[in-house]
Structure formats: C-alpha cells, structure tokens
C-alpha cells in the first residue's frame, strides 16, 4: 500500500506538470491584467486542434508547440482587441464576455472539425516508458511533460524578470497608475500579456493533445483546474502557480487513489476552500504588497 502510494506520488508529478502547463497562461493574464479568461479552456482546446492539424500534416509535438503558440496567440490578440480591451475595469463582466467567447470558439471548432474525437500521437522518440518503482511504468511522454512544465516556468520567469517587457509588466502589476505616469503604455502591456498568456494556453493544448482525445469540450475541466490552482497558489506570483499546482496535483492523485476520483476532487476542493479561508489571497499571494 505504502509503496503504491509512493508510486502514485511520483506519477502525480505529471499531473502537477499538466496543471502548471495549463495554468501558466491564465496566471499571467489574471495576475497582470486582472482578467479571468473564461475562454482559457477553449484556448487550450484550439491549441490541441492545432496540434491535431499539424499531426495530420506530418509534424510532431515539437513542431506543433510553436505553431500552436502563434495560432492561439493571434486568436488572443483578436479577442483582446475586439472585446477584452473595453472591459478591463469590470472583471466580473469580462468573465461573462469571455465565457461567451468560449461558447463561440467551441461551436465554431465543432462546425469546422465536426463532432468526432481526434487522436494525436506522441512523438516517436517519446514512445514507451521506463519503470520507476515496482511495476508501474512511467511513460516517457509524462517525463516530457514535466520537462516542458519546468521549461515553460523558466521561460515565463525569464520573460517577466529579465526582459524590458517583463519590467513593464511588473511595474503595471505593482501600480498601474504610477506605471502609466512613468510613460509605460499600460494598454499595450495588457495586450502583450493577454497575447502571451493565450500563446501559453496554445502550447498547453499542443502538449496535452497526445494524452487526451481532442474534442471541443476538452478544455473546460483544464480551465477550472487552472482557476483552482490560481485561487490556492495566489495570484500574481509565479511561485504561487507552482505551489498551487503541486499541492492540487499531488493531493488529487494520491487521494483519488486512496478513495475514488470524485471523493479525491471533493477533498481537494474542501482543502482549497479551507486554505483560502485561512489565507484569503492564496499561499503566495498573501504576502504580496498591493
């Protein structure tokens, strides 16, 4: 029993990786622009469909990642310019508008690709797996996911802390008005952040496509999980994403193994609610100065 829980714990790392990959884009958008993007799940879905198309054309996941980044990034640009830029000051209504965007994206995708499921194969060199402890195989692709999650975190850290854009983003996040006074075009920063976050959602879709059958409704559960990660980890701090994803991913895997899926999710939800009752701004958001 103990050993199998340990194996579950190890395989939980891939769940954590998935959560980090899915939540990063949302975290950036929510953390900086203050917008909950309800269409986030649909962005992931579009990314996955992009990967499916790339797969049909003969490319593998490594090709799909940049393509999905660009595709979904452009989609994000379109939606930011068309809709979201008018309602940054009304976060609750952004939530509704982006929900509408999500519905439209789902339906349009269904109209284009039809209702059937798509399967995207994982790259050839990542086929198979290795054994960790006991007899549980750990697929190479899961390890790949963990590596992608770490690389994406590193990428986002680099962008936020080492580039000029990141400096502006951090300034806007700290104090929007003063940042504007210092000559930072805050609207442009919001746009850049939204596009970058959307692109990350696209990458998430491309990477997650091989482990999940691609359908129009695939995104929503990821979106909700991502929200939970943000709520638990705290908004506006990248460590919060890692911590939230780590706690939720591991807890859910282990608890689902001990009880069942639903009880596991319920317990995790209760855990989240109790945690934010104690630290309302999330684990890492709490100490942040606003």
């Amino acid at each position: 029993m103990t050993q199998s829980i340990i194996t579950q714990f190890l395989s939980g790392f891939s769940v954590v990786a998935i959560l980090i990959i899915a939540a990063l884009g949302l975290a950036i958008i929510f953390g900086v622009a203050g917008v909950i993007n309800m269409a986030h799940g649909e962005f992931i879905m579009v990314g996955a469909y992009t990967a499916a198309v790339v797969g049909k054309l003969g490319g593998n996941t490594l090709v799909a990642i940049p393509v999905a980044f660009v595709t979904v990034g452009l989609l994000g640009l379109l939606i930011e310019r068309g809709i979201v830029q008018w309602i940054y000051d009304r976060p609750l209504e952004t939530l509704l508008a982006t929900w509408g965007v999500g519905i439209i994206l789902q339906t349009v995708t269904k109209l284009i690709f039809g209702p059937e499921l798509y399967y995207v194969g994982s790259p050839k060199f990542l086929a198979g797996g290795f054994r960790v402890i006991g007899r549980l195989p750990f697929p190479w692709y899961r390890l790949f996911l963990v590596i992608v999650a770490i690389l994406l975190l590193a990428l986002v850290f680099h962008v936020i802390f080492k580039t000029n854009l990141g400096l502006e983003v951090r300034a806007v996040r700290r104090n929007r008005a003063i940042a504007g006074c210092l000559g930072i075009d805050t609207a442009r920063v919001d746009m850049a952040v939204f596009v970058f976050g959307s692109g990350l959602a696209g990458i998430a879709g491309a990477v997650l496509a091989p482990i999940k059958s691609v359908s129009t409704a695939m995104g929503f559960p990821y979106a909700v999980d991502s929200f939970m990660v943000l709520v638990l980890g705290g908004v506006g701090n990248l460590w919060g994403v890692a911590a939230g994803a780590g706690l939720i991913g591991e807890a859910e895997t282990v608890l689902s193994f001990i009880f069942n899926n639903v009880i596991g999710r319920l317990l995790v939800f209760l855990f989240i609610v109790v945690t934010i009752r104690l630290v309302p701004k999330g684990i890492f958001g709490y100490y942040e100065r606003r």
């Binding site: 929510f30 939970m228 009752r277």
Partner: protein, 395 residues
C-alpha cells in the same frame, strides 16, 4: 430657485426629504396583474400542452434568474454555481416523487425501488434516503438545505472578504464537483440519466401554484430591494469598501442576501422537478448557472422585472429558434454574452428605464413644471420680505 431653497433649508425646521419611488408603481401593478392573468388563464384559452409545460418551466427559470439578480444585480456577488442550490432543491423533490412513484409502479423486475437503484444492485431504499419518502419532508429539505449550504459558503468566504472573481471561480468549481458527485454516485442519484419517470404535476392547478409562488417571490424581491436593506445591498454592490466604512457589516449583508437567493433557487428547483418530471446532473452544472446569469443580464440586472423578462425572452427564443438554427444558436448565445456586456450593459429593462428617465427629464411636462416653479420663485422674490437677499438674511 436655489437661493430660496437654501433659505428655506436654513430658516425652516429641517425636513429630510427623501424622494422615493413608490413601492409598486401603478404601471407595475397593472402590468404585473396583466401578466399573471395572461399566464394564469392559459389553461382556459390555450389547448397546447407543450405551451403549458413551457409556461410552468419558464416561471421556474424566472424565479431562478431572480435569485441570481438579488445577489449579482443588487449586491454584486457573481455566483457561477447558483445551479447548485437549484439542483439540490430539484433533486430532493425528484427523489421523493420517484420513491413514492415506485411504491405503486414496481420496476420491470418487480422491485419497489427506483430503477436506477436496482440497476446498481441495491435491493432496498438506503436508510438515509428513507425519510424522503415523505414529500413534505422532502420539500422542507429542498428549501432548507440550499439555504444552509449558502450560509456555510457565505460564512466561509464572505467573512474573509473573499468575493468578486474569487467567489465566481469557487462557486463554479463547487457546481462542477456536485455534478461529478451526482454522476459518480448513480445508485442514489440516477447518475448520468438523471431521475425520470415519476408522476409529475402538470396541469392548471399546479401552474397556478407555481404562478402564485413566482408572484410572491417577485414581490418579496421588490420589498427587499426597495427597503432600507435594499439600499444597503445596492451600496455594497456599488462600493463595498465605502459601505464598510459607513459602518455596515458587509459580510453579514452578503451572507443574508446569499441565503435568501439560495432559498429562492431551491424553491425554483423544487417546483421545476415537480413540474417537468426530469432532473439531471445538467440542472446543477456550471453551464446552467452561467446561462441563468445571462438571462438576468439580458433582462436587466438590478431590476426586479429584468430576470422575468430575460428568462422568458432567452428561454423562449431558445425553444423556438434552437431547433431551426442548430449549431448557430450556440454562436448566437455566445454573441449574446458579449453583446450584453459590451453594449447592453443594463439589459432590456434597465435600458428602457434609463431611456424613460432621460426622456422624462426633458419631457414637455417637466419643462412646463420647471417654468412654473421658477415663476413661483420669482413671485416670492417680489414679496416684501424678499427685499433682502435670501441667505444673507438668515445669517
């Protein structure tokens, strides 16, 4: 005019004049009575059973939308999981009706338990569900349990100043988990298929009952939001920090209105289950919750009539258009979300109200009255005591 007013204010005993709109303006009374009569008399002039069932359904939707309007439109709490309360209410009544139905209608295999229990290998009604055999008890549960759930939720979140987007996201997850729960424990809830095949109450009498309850709820909503309490609620919706500084316990107000709203949602769900005869996990899900939010937004949040109008319009359009439009209907709904947020912010009723207000500010009668009052003022200026400047005299 202002000089006189100032002088009056200083010299006379201060009278606090609060211009309040009447609780029930005449047009609302007449219109409301008209709508009630129109719907209530349908069994006499209409013979279409489908229309009848739609009417009862829409009334439940309207109550559900009202429950969202109270918390979102007035108090500014956006819940994306309001269907949890609707669904809990609906499931209590549905399970009770189903249990009673199976007593007289044994299943194909002769069992006197609901079919979904039999499929899942239960041989008798589990003891914790046995009390639900009594319909009155189930109805009480359908009303009380949602309220208690809302109380619990409110105490956990609002007391710690968790609201806004966080609240929306948590309620969303809540309803998603309830949905999973219902699907997973299908032996007790009917799972994916929901609860069907029980004797539901369709007919004129029950339509009148639903209509009566709906009318009472809408009147309650009006009384609640038109009172002092309603003013506080609106102020919380406008600026909760300021309301807190004014000395109001914002958290308690939020909890209170959230409980009232959950009660209404539970009642709506209970009536819905009894009327429609089919309850499924979809009735507790996030999609349904957000859909109801959009009815409220279309009708006009922050107005009492809005939810009614919105529920009837959107749901009516869905029933008549979604068949012919198929997939395009979904795109239309998505567009509606965006349209309501970007363009029609106050919804249909709110926009009409704004328009009337603006018009009445510049209407001919208003201008004439204004002129009259000015003439009156001028007349008083000519009176003897008006020789000194008003205002100076008072000092």
């Amino acid at each position: 005019m202002s000089g006189i007013a100032l002088a009056d204010a200083i010299t006379k005993k201060p009278v606090r004049r609060v211009r309040r709109t009447p609780m029930l303006p005449r047009w609302a009374l007449i219109g409301g009575a008209g709508v009630v009569a129109l719907i209530g008399s349908y069994p006499y002039y209409g013979s279409n059973g489908y229309m009848l069932s739609l009417l009862g359904k829409f009334l439940c939707y309207a109550v559900f939308a009202l429950s969202i309007d109270l918390i979102w439109g007035f108090t500014g709490i956006l819940s994306l999981g309001q269907a949890v309360y609707f669904g809990v209410g609906a499931y209590f009544v549905a399970v009770s009706l189903k249990l009673n139905y199976t007593l007289t209608h044994p299943t194909r295999y002769g069992g006197k338990i609901p079919d979904f229990m039999e499929w899942n290998g239960l041989t008798a009604v589990p003891s914790f569900m046995a009390p639900l055999m009594s319909l009155p008890f189930a109805i009480v549960c359908a009303l009380v349990v949602p309220t208690l759930l809302a109380l619990l939720f409110g105490v956990i979140t609002f007391k710690r100043h968790i609201y806004g987007v966080y609240c929306a996201v948590i309620t969303l997850a809540e309803s998603l988990i309830l949905q999973d729960f219902i699907i997973e424990y299908q032996a007790y809830t009917g799972g994916f298929n929901g609860i069907t095949d029980y004797s539901n109450y369709v007919g004129a009498a029950f339509l009148w009952f639903i209509l009566g309850v709906t009318a009472v709820f809408f009147l309650t909503g009006r009384v609640l939001t038109h009172s002092r309490l309603g003013t506080v609620l609106k102020s919380i919706g406008d600026n909760d920090v300021r309301a807190e500084f004014m000395g109001y316990n914002v958290a308690n107000y939020r909890i209170f209105v959230f409980c009232v709203s959950a009660f209404m949602a539970g009642a709506a769900g209970a009536m819905y289950a009894a009327w429609v005869g089919l309850v499924s996990f979809l009735d507790t899900g996030p999609v349904y919750s957000v859909e109801a939010v959009i009815w409220t937004a279309v009708g006009g949040r922050g107005t009492i009539i809005g939810p009614f109008v919105g529920a009837f319009l959107v749901k009516g359009a869905e029933f008549f258009l979604s068949g012919t439009l198929a997939e395009w209907w979904q795109i239309l709904v998505g567009g509606l979300f965006i349209f309501v947020v970007l363009v029609l912010r106050d919804g249909i009723v709110g926009t009409i109200a704004n328009w009337v207000r603006r018009r009445s500010a510049g209407s001919f009668r208003q201008i004439a009255q204004e002129a009259d009052r000015k003439a009156h003022d001028r007349q008083r200026d000519w009176q003897a005591e008006g020789a000194t400047r008003h205002g100076e005299e008072a000092r």
